[in-house]
């Protein structure tokens, strides 16, 4: 059995176990405190979020799996914060290591990056929880608020220089479309996750045309 096939099999084992572990959390709360909620309350709550988040979840799986590789995908979808942390981590690591996504070397580097990122995040949150009383006022302070409010532009500015700089012809069409779209409909900012595949489709369409014309 090849490394990729074995990774797929082990990854499935881990992610199904993770699904059970995650489901056991509310089950344990209900059993221990004898506090099963009313079905209608859960259903009503779900109606407010499930349509959008189930759609985004499905879109993310299709969009990010080819980028992150087998091991990276199974890990990233369990540990979360995909767009703001795991995908940029994998992207940056593959770029620095000069390996391509989709190759076995890319698979290795992407998995290592996502695993490291998950471990560091988990440890930082754990350390933060221990010292929460002391650090909460600092993290919550109005002085630092602009820094955390702008974490995505701060992250994607640096990433863009590397990636857009390297593939500027391919980047032009999705970039122009997205800037125009957000200028025209600013309220879409809250649904940026849904727009990632739109950007992907435009980049793919433009890429196909440029490739066929021999411009790439």
């Amino acid at each position: 059995m090849s490394y990729m096939e074995k990774t797929d099999r082990l990854g499935k084992l881990w992610i199904w176990t993770a699904a059970v572990v995650i489901l056991l959390v509310p089950v344990a709360i209900c059993l221990y405190y004898q506090a099963w909620p009313e079905g209608t309350a859960v259903l009503k709550g779900l109606l407010g979020v499930a349509p959008i988040y189930w759609t985004v979840g499905a879109i993310e799986v299709i969009t990010y799996t080819p980028m992150l590789g087998v091991g990276g995908t199974y890990l990233a979808f369990v540990t979360g914060n995909l767009t703001s942390l795991k995908a940029p981590s994998a992207l940056n690591a593959m770029e620095n290591a000069d390996v391509k996504p989709g190759t076995e070397e890319g698979e290795v580097i992407s998995t290592m990056a996502i695993a490291t990122s998950s471990i560091v995040t988990t440890l930082v949150i754990a350390a933060g929880v221990v010292a929460l009383t002391a650090i909460a006022p600092i993290l919550d302070s109005p002085v630092l608020k602009p820094a955390f409010d702008n974490i995505l532009p701060a992250l994607f500015g640096g990433l863009a220089v590397v990636y857009v700089g390297k593939n500027w012809k391919l980047a032009m069409a999705p970039l122009i479309f997205m800037v125009a779209l957000f200028l025209a409909v600013p309220s879409l900012a809250s649904s940026v996750g849904v727009l990632v595949p739109v950007g992907v489709l435009i980049a793919l369409g433009a890429g196909r045309i440029l490739y066929k014309k021999g411009w790439l």
């Binding site: 407010g48 979020v49 080819p66 369990v78 929460l132 955390f148």
Partner: protein, 240 residues
């Protein structure tokens, strides 16, 4: 059993989940490291990948911790700790909690004391994000075979295809930065922050290429991100 969102029982559940996440991450890290060595990748390269990612992750990790702080005001510490360590992100958890609270007609302005309300929120948070866990193992085979087929048919187009995926993601987030420009000068702050980050990354790239500072590759993204965040702290009081 007297309920408290901050009970020892809740902390024990949180610790169990956190140990699971760490175990899964360590398992994949070690496995990938070994495979990298088998493929002839140098120890130096693999270690640099770990150090670079660890450094870059620190700041976003603190921002995720901020999510725990936000949610802990009404959910206590252990449940947000679990949710933000596994699959969660504040952008999802907060709407999930708010949606359930609205359905139950309660306020999230203080710590929840009713175990049924608490468990309802825990269920909505859990079920609302389950497709992200269930779909990867179901769709993996199809997506993988599609990628293999694509690469085998035309490897150059396969490479362009992968780049297009990343660029689609990056352009969506770059476009989002422009969403508030019509609200006045304060709406330009994210653009200035983005440009600052880009300039810092450009400077790092120059130093790496022209001055031979290869070691900087490990920290370039962390430096550009942190520098731009400091810049945001400085310019926001002036412009907002």
């Amino acid at each position: 059993m007297k309920f408290s969102p901050n009970s020892i029982f809740m902390y024990l559940i949180a610790i169990g989940v956190i140990v699971f996440v760490l175990a899964q991450s360590a398992f994949f890290l070690v496995r990938a490291y070994r495979r990298g060595r088998e493929l002839g990748m140098s120890r130096q390269l693999l270690r640099r990948t770990i150090v670079s990612t660890a450094v870059f992750t620190l700041v976003p990790a603190v921002s995720i911790l901020l999510g725990v702080v936000t949610l802990s005001k009404f959910l206590g510490i252990p449940l947000p700790w679990i949710r933000m360590s596994v699959i969660g992100a504040l952008t999802y958890e907060l709407p999930a909690a708010t949606s359930t609270a609205n359905a139950l007609g309660i306020s999230l302005s203080e710590l929840i004391q009713d175990p049924k309300v608490f468990s309802a929120i825990a269920w909505v948070m859990t079920l609302g994000i389950m497709p992200s866990i269930i779909l990867p193992p179901i769709l993996m085979k199809k997506i993988r075979s599609g990628m293999v087929h694509l690469k085998a048919k035309d490897s150059k187009w396969g490479d362009i295809f992968m780049s297009a995926l990343f660029l689609g993601m990056i352009s969506a987030f770059l476009g989002m930065v422009f969403a508030d420009v019509r609200s006045g000068i304060a709406g330009w702050i994210p653009i200035f922050v983005l440009l600052c980050s880009a300039v810092l990354m450009g400077v790092c790239a120059l130093l790496i290429k022209k001055c031979g500072m290869k070691w900087l590759e490990t920290y370039a993204l962390a430096i550009s991100m942190l520098g731009a965040m400091v810049f945001a702290v400085i310019i926001t009081p002036v412009l907002a």
